[in-house]
Every structure is written in structure tokens, then in C-alpha cells.
Amino acid sequence: MTISHDPTLYLLTAATMLALSGLPGLFFRSPASGQRAAAFTAVIASLLGVFAIITLLEGTPGADWQIDWPLPFGPAIFSVDQLSTIFLLPLFLVTGCVSVYSLAYWPAREQPGARKLTLFLGLFAAAMVVVVLARSSVLFLMAWEVMALAAYFLLTTDMQSSEIQRASTVYLITTHTGTMALLVMFSLLRGATGTFAFPPAHTLSQAVPFATIIIVAALLGFGSKAGLMPLHFWLPGAHANAPSHVSAMMSGLMLKMGVYGILRTLSFFEALPVWLGWLLLLLGVWSAVNGIALATGQRDLKRLLAYSSIENIGIVFIGIGLALIGIQTRSPYLVVCGFSGAFIHIINHALFKSLLFMGSGVLIHGTGSREIDRMGGLARRMPLTSTLFLIGALAICGLPPLNGFVGELFLYIGAIMDGINSPLPLAALVAPILALVGGLAVITFVKLYGIIFLGSPRSDSASLCHEAPALMTGPMVVLAGSCLIAGMAPSLLVRLVTPVVESYGNVAKSVMQQVTSQVPVLPLTIANCMLIILGLGIGALYLWRLRKLPLAFGSTWVCGYPAPTPRMQYTGTSFSESMVNLLGSLVAPYRRKPAMDGVILPQKARFIYEVSETVLDQVLTPIFLWIGSAFSYIRRLQHGQLHIYMLYIFITLFVLMLWSH
């Protein structure tokens, strides 16, 4: 082991730098210089992390690090493998961008709580790095909890509004329920293997006791973090109410930790039960369709993006499900296309969703509102942001020539090859479902982009908006540029995931090559270039004609009506209304229409339209309220008298001692 060139060491150093980045700021007199120091450290750490990953991809393996600590749960083991790189690369890229962005988005000079925010932002990123590197269960759980709690403290930066209080409480309860499931899972794993260290890949027989419970607990614990339906209910509130750059990290990165957890757990097993692939596929389809259906109806900019994250996690799980089905049915094309599609989409989603959340931060900064229907006409006022947002919107719809298309392309090809080869091509049904999801995504993002940036401003605050400072747009340019490059040259993405698919899916190199030759990677680059050249060519011709011909400017043609006002424009709610009606009970918005009967000149009335969160509002909240009232008598134990509390501890210890003898 050469210490001088060890990617694991670089990664651990980067994690330490990130974790400590906010610490100096606590001692500086001016919070602003602390924030700058933290951002600088985070960028250096990110560059180091990206360098480590490039070293890894070039073939230098990372060493295993074992630290014998005095805890009774075995040593702490750090290691990095192919699967880790998929998650680490976007993690460092986005973290670097976010820390620069936060300098202008949450300037310490003006905003309260910047010290706390900076401290936990670094800790949050570092914990995620450690989650991906940890190879022993106690270390993993500790990093997991630091990540979850840091996210909670980031979410509660501004505790004033009751909405944030509710969202953060729901998040805290959910994440701890999830951790409870993980405790069950890791305890059973310890029972099966006899050690706290993670078992090596594909070594655990399916016959170990409680194998099914281990898998189900992992699905519950990690699935709720990933936002897989029906465990997604915490996500929209938390993502919508966190500061925007925190939402970018939560949505772009933290959700992926749930995906990572599931993938890592599944890799322990030699063989997986048959139902698992189908279950993951169904959950993925449910999340994708229902997630985007709920996104379509939203009026809140960030809630819309949050629901679309559920959709994208659904697409990732569709890929994983296809791959697991492929392993069962021995169809290499499903394994390769499923895993490749899922891994590529994990990277892509981190890029464009962070971009969009950062863009939403710029909008909130400018207009002071998250309500889509109060914006409008911002493209004229913030030309750069609007262009970057458009790139993100096109990418998230999976449209060529951007990166979102690449991941979906793999899934489509896997599904259609199943349609060709399999006697009963059930997995092929994924293709029309993905097409439907894609169509709904176009509705959602045309609405989001069109209503926010185009037309004329619907409120005063929107009309007074201005372009964001370079510290905010700069990181967005980096992310948008990555989306464009990855879309134009998909071979980069494919090269990134190929070794991971080979090692994780146990696929031979020849099989991998044979299947990926069916996926048009190089032709796609050529077609994308042709598309851009044609577009530029037609555009040049058009501009040439425009210059030669007379031009006139006027107001929009509204069929002869002389005095249109901005309020007469189509709103986002009306834009999506016909689709929301067609989707029926999938969305089921709450409407209260004003009564307008019997009066010639109707009085003022209120119209209420809300897309509610069914699982949370109608299932969980009533259950929790009932539990709360049923167990209220236990609260008598909590009375604030310290000496009685000490007595409790003493009695408990005494009883435990008696019991153990």
C-alpha cells in the first residue's frame, strides 16, 4: 500500500476538510469571513475528491483503512469501490457548487443563522462521504445519523414559520423511524455474519436466518430516505421549506444515499429472491407515475421540484428492478441496461435537480415567493438564470441533446429488448409507462418554465426582479455545462458506469460490450451535433431574413381586445388543470368553489385550490394524533423534576442488573 497515491486517503482527507470547514467560522468575529473560509475549504475538498475519483477510475485501487477505536463494535473500516464512485462524483461536484452559491444566497452579513448553516452544511456533506465509504455497520449508522441530523438542523435554519416547524418534525420522525428499521437490519446482519464489518459482495447465502427481514428492513429504512412511494411523505415539505441550496443537496444527493444503501445491502447476497426485482420495479413505477402526477398539479415552485425528485427516484428504481429481474431470468440485456440506466440517472439527476433547486433559490431571492402563479416575465429580467433553468428543465424531461435522455435511453432499450426476446415481455411495459411519465414531465416543466419566466409579470415583486450575482449563477453555469457535455457526449457517462455495472452486476466484459453496442452512444453524439448545427443554420437563415425585412413591435394579439392585463394570462394552475382532471384520484386536488347563486352582481368570494399530500394528511397524521392522545397518560412521567428523573435511571439500572443475574 503506497500512502502517497491512495484514493481512499484523499477521500478521507476531503471528508475531514468538509466536516471541519464550518468550524473556524464559529471563532471568527465577522461571520462573513468564516463563511468565505468554509466555502474555500469546501471547494478545495471537492477538487481533491474529484481528483481522487479520477485516480480511481484510472485504475488505482483505493486501500482499505481500518481504525481500531475503543468502541465495543469492532474497528471502523473505510473502503472505496466502483459502486462508491457513482455516488461520490456528483456528491463532490454539487457540494463544491453549493458552497460557492451559499455565499450569495445566504450571505452571513444579512441573514441570521449563517454560522450554524455553514457548520452543518460541511458536516452534512462529510457525513454523506463517510456513508459511502463506511464498511462496518456501526460506523455506517453513525455517519447516517450525522447526515440525517445535519439535514434536520439545516432545515430548521429559519425556525420562525410554522410550516418549517411541521415539515422538520415530520422529517425527524420519519428519518428516525427509518433508522430504527436500519438498526433491525444491521442487528440481523450481525447475527448472520458474526461481525459488524460488512460482508464481502455476493457472499451471504439467501438461506441465512431472516434474509427476507433483512431485505425488507433495508427497503423500509433506505427507501424512506430515498423517497420511494409510499414512504415519500416527508420529502415535499422538507425540500420545499429548506433553504434552496440545502434543498439542492437534499434532493440531488441525500436521496441517493437511500439508493446507495439499498444497492449496498443487496450486494451482500449471493442470490436474491424472485419477488424483489418485481417489487422494486412496481415501487419504481408507482413513484415515477404518481410523483410526476402530483408534481404536475403543484403551485409551489419547490414542492413541484420535490415531487419531481420522487419521480426521478422512481425511474432509478425502475432501472434497478429491471436489472434484478434480468438476473433472475438470465437476460443480460436487462441487467446491463437496467443498471446502466439507473446509475446514469443517479448522476444526471444530481446534476440537473441541484441546478433547478439553485435556480429556484435565485427566483425566491428575487421575488420573495415560491408561488408559480405570482411570477411571470422573468426571462427578460434575469436572462442568464432563465437560460440555465431552461437547460435544467429540458434535461429533467429527458429530452435530447441533454443528459437526462441518456439514462432513459438505456431503460427504453432494455425494455424493448425484453419485448423482442422474452416469451412473456412484462418488463417491456416499462417503455410505454416511461413514455407517459416523460409526457407528464413535459407538461410539468413547460408549465414551470413558461409560467415563471415567460409572459408578463403577474405581481409587483416579479416585475422588480433582477439578475442574480455571479456567485449564484457561476455554480449554476458549471452544473448546466455538465448537463450539456454529458448529453452531447454520452460516452463519458457510459465509460463512467461500465466498470460499475460489470463489477456490481457480475457481468462479463464481452456481454457488456455486446449489449452496449445496441445502445446508440456514438450515433447519439452525431445526431445531437446535427441537431445543433441544423438549429444554428436555420436560426442564421431566419436572422438573415429578419434583417432584410421590415420589423414592427406591438402588444400581444388577444383577438382585438384593447386592454389586456397580466392577470388575464393563463396561470400554472389552469395550464395543468385538464391533465390533473384526467389523472383523477392520482392527484385529487382539494377545490372549494365560491357559491355564486341568485345574485345579479355576485359578492366577493374565495376560491381554494390545493394539491394535498394524501399519505401524510389523510393516513399518517390521524394515526399519529390518535397515538398521541391514547398514550397521553405516559406524559405524566415527564414533569421536569430532576431528582425524580435520576431515580428513574437508578431504578432502571437496578432492574437491569437483577435481570442479568
Partner: protein
């Protein structure tokens, strides 16, 4: 090489003629003489020499909309095989790019419409994205069915595979596919019974209302792009519905052009004898088409 040149020429030059044939057919049904067959070409020429009026609310998005739409449709025209000949650009998996190029053009058409801030255009854009969302699964069911028949992921192969023998073997499936594709063709191109391309200020409009504010060369580009889209989706339909191959390259091209003109006539007849559907009925018909193509897939599984 000759085939590639003919492909490009046919794809570039024929589309406006289809609009002329449709108009002539409708005129014949209405007992009028009608505009000459070449009228759309005159219109395009006229529009390219006209000045433009721009709304002051619009941005570069409004100008880019027609351009991106045409560019995406042109690439799609290079992917689809015409007249039983492989297309100039053809690779495994190109059918997915084909479908998504229409998504890209739709995205830009609709945001260009929203850029004007007019509620009419917003309405048109909302309908366009809603109805296209429902046609998308139909196309993919059809593609899977055709891919399974021809064991290929290549648009050129799967669309030149249907033949009279395939029709005899899988007649029911092919018939359902043809019906589903014809409905998709009418819906995607905003023809009756989904939309009436002749009226301009009715509230049930989809495509025409989205382009109300475009003028001059931009409107010419839109008109041409719409004709090209009709041509491309029409070619997909003709490849499935009339799979006649003589073996002689030139004869095949001739048959293809005649078949396309016949298709334009058929559309003209449909538009003359049918009324436009009520807006609430349109989704039902579109979902019906999806189910037809799903049936087609079911039938080839046997």
C-alpha cells in the same frame, strides 16, 4: 447514395404538397374548386418575404421556438425510412430518439406560445402537451410490437419489415396497429376530429392557436415544420399500412409518393365527413388508441 439524395429531396419537397392535396379534397367535398395544389408553396414563399410583428412581451424563446421545432422534425425526417429504403441515418435504438425529438419540438412550440403571455396561446399550449402526453404510450406500444415482429431496435428495419406476408400472418395485430397509428397521426398533427386547422379564433383550437402571434418568416417555418411532421408520421403509417415492395428502387419511390398523396386524400375525406370532437371526448379517443396498440402487442405475443 442515390437513395439518400432521393430521400432528402422527397422529405424536403413533398410535405407542403400534402397540405395542398388535403385542401383540394376538402374543396371537392364542399363543391368548390379550391386553391391550387401548389398553394402551400406559394404561401411559404410569400411568408418568407413578409415583415414580422413581434409582441413586446416576447423574448428569444419566442424566436427560437419555430427554429428548434423545425430542426428536430428535420432530424426525425432523416431517421424514418421512406419508400422501403433504409433511412440516411439509421442506428440501433434510433426509434427512441425519433419519439423524443417530437418531445423536444413540442417543448419549444409550447414555451414559444407561453412567451406571448396571451391566454389563448396558453390554452393551446396546455391542450397540446396534455393530448401529446396521451399519444406517447400509443407510439411506444406500436414500436415494441413492430420491434418484436422484426427482432430489431432499428427504425429502418422495423418499419421496412411489414410486408403482405406479415399482414397475412398477423393480420389482426397489423390492423389494430394501423388504426392506432392513424389516430395518433391525426392527433399529433392537430387534424379533425381533434382540432380544426382551418379556424383561427375558436376556443377548441390546439395547434393554430399556439402560433397566433408568429408572423412573417417565422410563421413560414412553422407552417413548413407542421407539414413536415405530417409527412414524417404519415410515412410511419404508410410503412405499416401499405407494405408493398416491388424490388425496383424507383418503382418503390413512386409507390411511396402516390401512397402519401393517397393518405393526404384520406385525411381530407376524414376532415370532410367528420365533425370535430368535443374537447372532453378527445382524451377518451386517445386512450382508446393506446389500448388498440396494446392489443396489437398482446396479439403478437401468442
Amino acid at each position: 447514395m442515390t437513395d439518400i439524395i432521393i430521400h432528402c429531396l422527397v422529405a424536403l419537397l413533398i410535405p407542403p404538397l400534402l397540405l395542398g392535396v388535403i385542401a383540394k379534397t376538402k374543396a371537392a367535398f364542399a363543391g368548390r374548386v379550391g386553391a391550387p395544389y401548389l398553394q402551400p408553396y406559394y404561401d411559404l414563399y410569400k411568408l418568407l418575404r413578409k415583415g414580422s410583428v413581434f409582441s413586446e412581451t416576447t423574448t428569444w424563446v419566442f424566436r427560437a421556438g419555430p427554429i428548434v421545432t423545425l430542426a428536430a422534425t428535420l432530424i426525425a425526417a432523416l431517421l424514418v425510412p421512406l419508400g422501403r429504403h433504409a433511412s440516411p441515418i439509421s442506428f440501433s435504438g434510433d426509434m427512441i430518439l425519433f419519439a423524443y425529438l417530437f418531445g423536444l419540438s413540442r417543448f419549444f412550440t409550447t414555451i414559444a406560445a407561453l412567451d406571448t403571455g396571451s391566454s389563448f396561446e396558453g390554452m393551446g399550449a396546455a391542450r397540446e402537451v396534455t393530448f401529446s402526453c396521451l399519444t406517447e404510450p400509443t407510439l411506444f406500444f406500436a414500436l415494441i410490437t413492430l420491434a418484436r415482429m422484426s427482432k430489431s431496435l432499428n427504425l429502418s428495419t422495423i418499419l421496412t419489415h411489414p410486408s403482405p406476408t406479415a399482414w397475412l400472418a398477423d393480420g389482426a395485430s397489423m390492423l389494430l396497429l394501423a388504426a392506432a397509428l392513424f389516430i395518433t397521426l391525426l392527433a399529433e398533427n392537430s387534424r379533425i376530429p381533434f382540432d380544426d386547422p382551418n379556424t383561427h379564433l375558436e376556443l377548441t383550437m390546439i395547434h393554430e392557436v399556439m402560433v397566433l402571434d408568429h408572423s412573417g418568416p417565422a410563421f413560414g417555418i412553422i407552417l413548413y415544420g407542421a407539414a413536415l411532421k405530417l409527412f414524417v408520421l404519415g410515412a410511419v403509417f404508410i410503412n405499416v399500412a401499405l407494405p408493398i415492395a416491388t424490388g425496383n428502387a424507383l418503382a418503390d419511390w413512386g409507390i411511396f409518393i402516390v401512397a402519401m398523396l393517397g393518405l393526404a386524400m384520406t385525411i381530407g375525406v376524414v376532415e370532410s365527413v367528420m365533425a370535430r370532437l368535443r374537447l372532453v371526448r378527445i382524451p377518451q379517443l386517445l386512450v382508446g388508441a393506446t389500448i388498440l396498440s396494446a392489443f396489437a402487442m398482446l396479439l403478437v405475443l401468442r
